[in-house]
């Protein structure tokens, strides 16, 4: 089998979340956006003593940093041996179909949206993993607010940004 169905993915992801939450596992939720400012601190050589935010994310950032290394490894192994999708590419097929064929345009928008995405995630205090998956599983009101705002903003942007009428 080279693709897992969505329901199998949901069951496995739920098992992973429960294991991570449990005191026998890591006793914390899964998160995947705190590592970004943490790595920014490392790459741009910021002194953690001077910046409040770096001090705040020291532990969570380290934890997610190790998890990130694992997910890079896991993603690579599965893409080479199971899904057979490893290849170098610059423009996604869907972008070519619904936006344009320009490499420059895709790279420009990737950069801008990557930048804005991290600012957004850090303002809200979480991302798809931390808020949507881990937070909504705890039935946190904050995560439900975030989830609703993200869904609306995602669907409106999808409608305005792409030319979806051509087919």
């Amino acid at each position: 089998m080279n693709r897992l169905p969505w329901w199998m993915g949901g069951i496995l992801m739920s098992g992973l979340l429960l294991m991570t939450f449990s005191v026998f596992g890591a006793d914390r939720p899964i998160g995947a956006s705190t590592y970004v400012p943490f790595f920014a601190g490392l790459v741009f050589d910021l002194d953690p003593e001077k910046y409040t935010y770096l001090k705040e994310v020291q532990n969570a950032g380290s934890w997610e940093g190790i998890m990130l290394l694992g997910s890079l490894f896991g993603g690579f192994i599965v893409s080479v041996f199971l899904t057979k999708t490893f290849r170098l590419s610059l423009v996604p097929t869907g972008w070519k179909k619904y936006k344009n064929n320009s490499v420059l345009s895709r790279l420009f928008w990737s950069f801008i949206s990557g930048f804005a995405m991290i600012i957004g995630a850090r303002l809200a205090g979480g991302c798809t993993s931390g808020h949507f998956m881990s937070g909504m599983s705890q039935m946190a009101i904050s995560s439900m607010i975030f989830g609703a705002v993200v869904m609306i903003s995602l669907l409106i942007t999808g409608r305005l940004f792409y030319n979806t009428k051509e087919d």
């Binding site: 914390r28 899964i30 934890w63 896991g74 600012i119 809200a124």
Partner: protein, 220 residues
């Protein structure tokens, strides 16, 4: 719990080493376990293909519904399991605060970036691992975003996020009926996952590498 971080050296290599050391001492699972959680996390995302532009931006265009189906099922199942684990003392709450401005401004920025990027901070690295260079460029943008946030946190972003209105959860609004609320929430969210109509946008560039009889787009 005592966290010991050796502060020897502040060059990039020493600080990477300190990251490992920090995880070993912070008491949230052994180093191997945390790495393994990442491997499984990345593996599931890769194996279900939800890291693809066609899946996330495809959902923004309402041409693919695999991501919301999988997300809602994950939340539905986990919410029931987690609640009873917490009751049994096998897990703890880690609820994020309600910061209205941060959640709304952040949510708008996050949602619109997700539609354009076709990735999120968890699926992005998985895409980079399978060779997507455009996502690597986006990650550099993200790193600069993290830098700007860190630099202007005290002067600008902290005020923009606003005050916390508490860490509330849905069951806390229904004292006495918590178990019922959890069960209803979990079941309803799981049913939503099942009844969202299944739509898929396939990527020929990926599927052409598979044998004809294994292509998911040729099966039912």
């Amino acid at each position: 719990m005592q966290i010991i971080v050796k502060t020897a050296g502040d060059d990039f290599a020493s600080r990477m080493a300190q990251m490992f050391e920090n995880v070993i001492h912070q008491g949230h699972g052994s180093l191997v376990l945390v790495f393994l959680i990442g491997v499984i996390f990345g593996g599931i995302i890769q194996y279900t293909r939800v890291d693809k532009f066609e899946k996330i931006a495809g959902f923004a265009m309402l041409k693919d519904t695999i991501v919301p189906k999988m997300l809602f099922l994950t939340v539905g199942l986990t919410s029931i399991g987690l609640y009873f684990m917490i009751e049994a003392g096998w897990a703890h709450y880690h609820v994020k605060p309600i910061i209205w401005q941060g959640l709304i401004i952040g949510g708008i920025l996050f949602g619109s970036s997700m539609a354009i990027f076709g990735k999120c901070p968890g699926t992005g690295p998985v895409s980079i691992a399978e060779g997507r260079i455009d996502v690597l460029v986006g990650a550099i943008g993200g790193l600069l975003g993290g830098l700007v946030f860190t630099l202007y946190y005290d002067d600008f972003f902290k005020a923009l996020m606003g005050e916390s209105a508490g860490k509330l959860t849905l069951p806390s609004f229904f004292p006495g009926n918590e178990h019922m609320v959890v069960l209803i929430f979990g079941v309803v969210v799981s049913i939503i996952a099942v009844i969202i109509p299944k739509k898929e946008m396939f990527d020929e560039a990926d599927l052409c590498k598979l044998p004809e009889d294994q292509r998911p787009d040729r099966q039912s």
